[in-house]
């Protein structure tokens, strides 16, 4: 009885189960070492000096006081620092050319491009000495006029250019005429502020040169980019650069590009001949690492009296830095969500003298869905229609802007399940009608949407004669449970217990993994892992099929099942360990993954044929204090279509995490830029208000669990979809509670007074 039970359990796939994280014990005991925690003999510490003007030139440098501090080894400025090569020009054939956070060649120029740009580096024997001495470096500037005020510059925005991965707009029919003729319409202007990633681990680099060999400990979302970029900037072959990044203390997009701290740690190590550690101060993160662009957005919707959309207009203005940054797909959800016959989408940009913007969790969609989904809710009010019903009446059969097929579309199912779990039918649709003592209660919904991406990746799989499996790829573990998910997949596809699988990751010496971005890491690595595992099984079988005493002799691989640590047909078969031992091999290894050109061609072909995305339905309940306007989120339900779910435990956590970050976007987060000086004025975790324990209610998440037929293992990506729609769901609940439509994030209580 127990035997049979055990057998069933052993054969049940690991994919789809709740599995504890493999790195759990290291993280709860403090044993996990992050980028700033690797000891080296003779280690020196570096600190940055930040420019205090927004634009201009350095006219004088006085480092005497800093150099006089006991323990100071060197003060590097543009007057004495060794030169780095400039950042490379962008090339579609080499994605690592996108890696540079800004185009500034730090310490090789007297030019200042934003307030906070690093202009000197102090290297000292202790972190305290470096930091103190950095405060003593005196720079004199000749200031130039700078443009730093987004609200003032925004009317001068210019249309964004299209690129192969991102459309800057779309037109179908005549949206303006249709809007003018629509019997029911809303036309709203939204604003969203700059946001900062605020990973709890500040960016840190430990850099060690040994001749022309460079070792870098760095928390990054793209190990390959760091390696290639550093090799290019410091003019050494990429194979001589080793990047180690096994633990990343939060990133959310902020550790995708290479920013000043990384470059300057490596530069300081080269200049001083010492291993150097550079940990950004919390303020330094705000000054040297970009964040999410602010935006203004217009969403205008026209509908007939039944709530069928006749016109959808969504335009946006975002900002980049004059020395870097890029557009984000703010109107993307409006391409895909509603069956309007007339659509006009347009994204515009302004350049300001501020640190370059960068990607942050669901770039574009997180703030774009706030505007679109708020406007849909307002249209529902205008029509006197239930907001879910309005969405269902406009659910398209094909992609609205171009008629492409959806690879997967289950929003109806997501809303149906979410409404049931949330108790949507208990909602009294009248604004302000639901109360709990002094609290006005409101319920709102919004749609979540995020495109599914697959990135190039290589994965190696090694099988050893003792039956253990090692999965090798330079994956990034920022807390998504990346290694655990790949171990589950490997265990299933090779038919071994998870305990027999080890995953090596976070090291540039491994086969290059995908970047951790676009919610695509797990799917991208899974594709390569499955291919490598298949090759490995072929190699193992090749050893067995001619062996006279193998039970697999004369059989066919396609009839064999990988299970119980080996290959079997019915009860006949043997373990991998037995096969390798007989053949006298201590291990076998296989690697798989597409080449860059083939991958790019397939991706472009794929994107011509399909629209692929994760999506979901967000349900929010708020309580608004009738006197103070304070908003508390009291309940949340999110139901998502993310395709296959590998690890129910880590997927639930990641979906909740996106919603929590969305609560910050909705209610409290705002990085404030001084309109006169361009300085970030709330550059701390005390004044940049991310959600805390007390802000976060029980978050009920669920998923539909239906694999996407066009993606590896059916995966649509989990990391970003759940932040999308959150801002609108909160705003819509506030609208229901108070009758007030807030168009300007965050929804702080002053806006409700």
């Amino acid at each position: 009885m127990t035997t049979k039970h055990a057998e069933v359990e052993q054969r049940a796939p690991y994919v789809g189960r709740a599995v504890d994280r493999l790195d759990g014990p290291a993280k709860v005991t403090g044993a996990a070492r992050y980028a700033a925690e690797h000891p080296y003999p003779n280690l020196a510490h570096a600190a940055l000096v930040h420019a205090t003007v927004a634009r201009g030139r350095i006219t004088a440098v006085d480092t005497a006081a800093a150099l006089a501090v006991r323990g100071v080894i060197e003060v590097l400025t543009h007057e004495n620092a060794p030169a780095m090569k400039p950042a490379p020009a962008l090339s579609m054939l080499n994605p690592s050319t996108m890696a540079s956070g800004t185009s500034v060649n730090y310490l090789a120029t007297d030019e200042v491009h934003w307030n906070g740009q690093p202009v000197a580096v102090v290297v000292a024997e202790t972190p305290e000495a470096a930091r103190y001495a950095a405060s003593l470096v005196r720079l004199t500037y000749q200031e130039s006029p700078a443009e730093v005020d987004f609200a003032a510059a925004e009317p001068n925005a210019v249309p964004q250019k299209n690129n192969p991965l991102q459309s800057a707009g779309a037109d179908k029919g005549d949206a303006n005429a249709a809007l003018a003729a629509a019997p029911v319409r809303v036309d709203l202007r939204f604003t969203t502020p700059p946001h900062s990633h605020n990973a709890i681990e500040p960016h840190a680099t430990t850099a060690v040169w040994d001749g022309d060999d460079l070792t870098v400990h760095e928390g990054t979302q793209n190990i390959a980019w760091v390696r290639q970029h550093l090799a290019q900037r410091f003019d050494v072959p990429a194979r001589r650069v080793r990047v180690l990044s096994p633990y990343v203390g939060g990133a959310f997009g902020g550790k995708t590009m290479i920013w000043a701290g990384t470059l300057l740690a490596v530069l300081a190590a080269r200049a001083t001949g010492r291993p150097v550690r550079l940990v950004l101060t919390r303020e330094g993160v705000f000054h040297t690492v970009g964040g999410r662009t602010p935006s203004t957005q217009r969403v205008a919707l026209g509908a007939d009296a039944d709530g069928r959309l006749t016109a959808l207009i969504h335009t946006s203005v975002a900002r980049t830095g004059r020395v870097g940054g890029g557009p984000e797909q703010i109107t993307s959800a409006s391409r895909h969500l509603y069956a309007a016959p007339n659509i006009h989408l347009r994204q515009n940009l302004v350049q300001l003298d501020l640190v370059a913007n960068t990607v942050m969790r669901a770039p574009g969609e997180s703030i774009g869905t706030f505007a679109l989904e708020s406007a849909m809710d307002e249209l529902a009010w205008e029509l006197g229609l239930d907001p879910i019903e309005l969405r269902m009446r406009n659910e398209p059969a094909n992609n609205p802007v171009d008629g492409k097929r959806f690879a997967h579309r289950m929003l109806r199912e997501a809303y149906a399940l979410g409404a049931e779990r949330f108790g949507w039918k208990e909602r009294d649709p009248r604004p302000g009608a639901m109360r709990d003592g002094r609290w006005l209660v409101g319920m709102g919904v919004a749609t979540a949407y995020h495109p599914a991406w697959q990135l190039p990746a290589k994965v190696g799989v090694r099988l050893t004669a003792d039956g253990t499996v090692v999965v090798r790829s330079s994956l990034h573990e920022m807390g998504m449970g990346a290694a655990t998910a790949q171990a589950q997949i490997a265990a299933d596809t090779l038919g071994v217990p998870m305990e027999a699988v080890r995953v090596e990751y976070g090291d540039s010496d491994l086969p290059p993994g995908p970047g951790a971005g676009g919610s695509g890491q797990t799917a991208s690595a899974a594709a390569a892992l499955l291919a490598a595992s298949h090759k490995l099984k072929r190699s193992v079988f090749a050893l067995a099929r001619h062996a006279p005493d193998s039970p697999l002799r004369g059989r066919r691989l396609d009839r064999l099942e990988a299970r119980d640590g080996g290959l079997y047909e019915g009860s006949a078969g043997e373990t991998y360990a037995a096969i390798l031992t007989r053949a006298g091999r201590d291990h076998l290894e296989a690697e798989a993954g597409p080449g860059m050109l083939g991958f790019a061609a397939k991706m472009l072909r794929d994107r011509r044929n399909w629209v692929k995305a994760a999506s979901g339905a967000q349900f929010c309940e708020v309580r608004v204090d009738q006197d103070t306007g304070e908003v508390r989120v009291s309940r949340w339900v999110g139901v998502f279509d993310v395709g296959t779910v590998i690890n129910t435990k880590t997927v639930a956590a990641q979906l909740r995490g996106g919603i929590v970050m969305g609560l910050g976007l909705a209610l409290s987060e705002e990085t404030l830029v001084d309109r006169r000086t361009g300085r970030v004025v709330n550059a701390s975790l005390a004044e940049n208000h991310v959600p805390v324990h007390a802000d976060v209610p029980r978050i009920d998440v669920d998923w539909l669990g239906d694999p996407d037929p066009t993606m590896p293992l059916g995966l649509l990506g989990v990391g970003e979809v759940s932040i999308t729609g959150v801002g609108a769901a909160v705003a819509n609940a506030v609208r229901h509670a108070t009758g007030r439509r807030i168009l300007d994030l965050p929804i702080t209580l002053d806006k409700l007074l």
Binding site: K27, G30, A36, I200, A251, H693
Partner: protein
């Protein structure tokens, strides 16, 4: 330089530190105990939380010389005899972390918070009137000095609740 003797996780260390060295930097840079994390160095995030005579403090806001006579416990000192502390075990079981960077602070904070509650310390949720039941709202309030940007708050709450309710 001041020579101090610090007792950390049951081991006495002799240290020469300048008077301005924070307890956090002393632990991380001088003693190699990198479990306590530096998230903000301003007392705003809680990642550096350690226990001083069992009381939770932000080690980044404490000077090492002030703590020479205290018993310091860091995350590295919570497991006993190779067995994880119940709060550590519960964090794994309930997935109370993602990236792991705030985790040392969350766990140390939770251990001390449970002791504070057991000792009858009030909070703004319950007021000072009666000894509060450890509701979810109590736990959230008492843990709000520890930020988690990955948003693992539900898992952290479940982990603490499990340990608090035997």
């Amino acid at each position: 330089m001041t020579e101090i003797r610090m007792r950390v996780n049951g081991v006495v260390h002799s240290l020469d530190v300048e008077p301005w060295v924070s307890l956090l930097d002393a632990l991380r840079e001088r003693l190699g105990l990198t479990g306590p994390k530096k998230g903000c160095d301003q007392g705003a995030c809680g990642a550096c939380t350690v226990l001083a005579d069992g009381v939770r403090i932000n080690a980044c806001l404490a000077l090492a010389v002030q703590y020479a006579d205290k018993e310091i416990t860091t995350i590295e000192g919570l497991a006993q005899g190779g067995e994880l502390h119940p709060v550590q075990q519960a964090f794994i079981r309930h997935d109370g972390f993602q990236c792991g960077y705030c985790t040392s602070g969350q766990i140390c904070s939770a251990v001390a918070m449970l002791a504070e509650h057991a000792a009858g310390m009030p909070s703004v949720v319950s007021g000072s009137a009666a000894r509060a039941e450890l509701t979810d709202a109590e736990i959230r309030e008492r843990m709000s000095g520890n930020l988690c940007r990955c948003g693992a708050y539900n898992g952290i709450l479940d982990a603490i609740r499990e340990v608090a309710t035997p």
